[in-house]
Symmetry: C2
């Protein structure tokens, strides 16, 4: 149901089988992130993962099954990263600034964009039946920011007048749009501007000048 569970193998595999499947998946995710879905073919994937055509076919009988698994794999990585301790559930403005800094400093951002968003953009118009998987992943991602802003409100760090869902959509849109603009410009500046300004906007709701400072760990 969730993007996370879909990353698990669909049926019982031996530990060796699981390792092979994981290796294929990791290589597929890397190839797709670098070259895009359409330019990634079985031959490249077979060589990168060191598997035979029949092995590849055993684990991923169709391109759709492979793309679905890569979406789930990338979604799990993105969501796990955002849920990590370093961001403390985004319950303070400093966490949002640290998050922006991380991606602005990520050298592949303006080359290849967001690992999940660039994949979504590439296939959203195709016939691949991956829509529910993408929608679930982005819903969860947006939920992380929304929950963080609601928590900031509960902690009286930002005003109750802020709309958590609106602000979460602004943050995620600034991130996705900034990634695209950075790729097009081959320059990180548009992403940096968009994230910084979106977070500045969240900060306009701060209840005190030091509301951004992390008060408890």
């Amino acid at each position: 149901m969730t993007a996370t569970t879909a990353a698990a193998p669909p049926h019982k595999l031996t530990s060796k089988g699981q390792a092979t499947r994981a290796r294929i998946l990791e290589q597929a995710a890397e190839l797709i992130y670098t070259k895009g879905v359409h330019a990634t073919n079985n031959e490249q994937l077979r060589r990168a993962a060191g598997v035979s055509g029949s092995q590849l076919n055993h684990y991923f009988p169709t391109k759709e099954s492979l793309v679905l698994a890569v979406i789930a794999w990338q979604a799990e990585r993105v969501l796990t990263f955002h849920r990590g301790e370093r961001f403390n559930c985004f319950d303070n403005l400093d966490a949002l600034r640290a998050w922006a800094d991380f991606y602005v400093g990520y050298e592949r951002a303006y080359q290849e964009g967001c690992t999940l968003g660039s994949l979504a953009s590439e296939i959203i118009k195709t016939d691949l039946d991956v829509h529910d998987e993408l929608a679930s992943a982005f819903d969860q991602w947006r939920g992380i920011f929304r929950d963080g802003i609601e928590r900031m409100q509960q902690l009286s760090r930002i005003s109750a007048e802020a709309d958590p869902t609106q602000l979460a959509n602004l943050l995620l849109a600034a991130f996705q749009g900034g990634m695209l603009l950075a790729q097009v410009a081959r320059d990180i500046a548009p992403l940096k501007d968009a994230l910084q300004t979106a977070i500045d906007h969240v900060q306009t709701f701060a209840t005190s000048p030091d509301a951004g400072v992390l008060q408890a760990r």
Copy 2:
């Protein structure tokens, strides 16, 4: 050099030739907007435009030449729309609100996204040599917002403390990211939220409560 000039035929054509080329281009833009670049093939395009294979090949000998022309065509439409009288060079906040309202009310926004951004996202990782064309189009688009914000400052409608380039990147990123999120969610709400909140942020720099009101036409 600019996206606009590239939309013109690359060499002298008769008026009949120009009309044929324009018809192919319009149909190609529509097919690509609906189905994506990869799913659009010559056979569909030939039928949609009512031309022979040799005619198609005459005007667009390669897929790259066709995609380049479609980028230029879409860029010209987007830029012309944004430069139109209805937005008065974006020299006031009401114009930004009207712009957001237009796209939030555009029924294809959450189905097919931005005519230019969705195309850019789909091909940014491919080998197609379209990067300069895309970068030029997005530079000009960003420039429209930046110039508008600078004009708002000259008219003392918003504070001199606002950074026009940063705000222009926020607006364009919120637009592009909001379009992607809307497509993924099959719901216009993420775009609406992102645009409204981005414009709210520009408004935090307003010098007076009525700064958004258009003062002169």
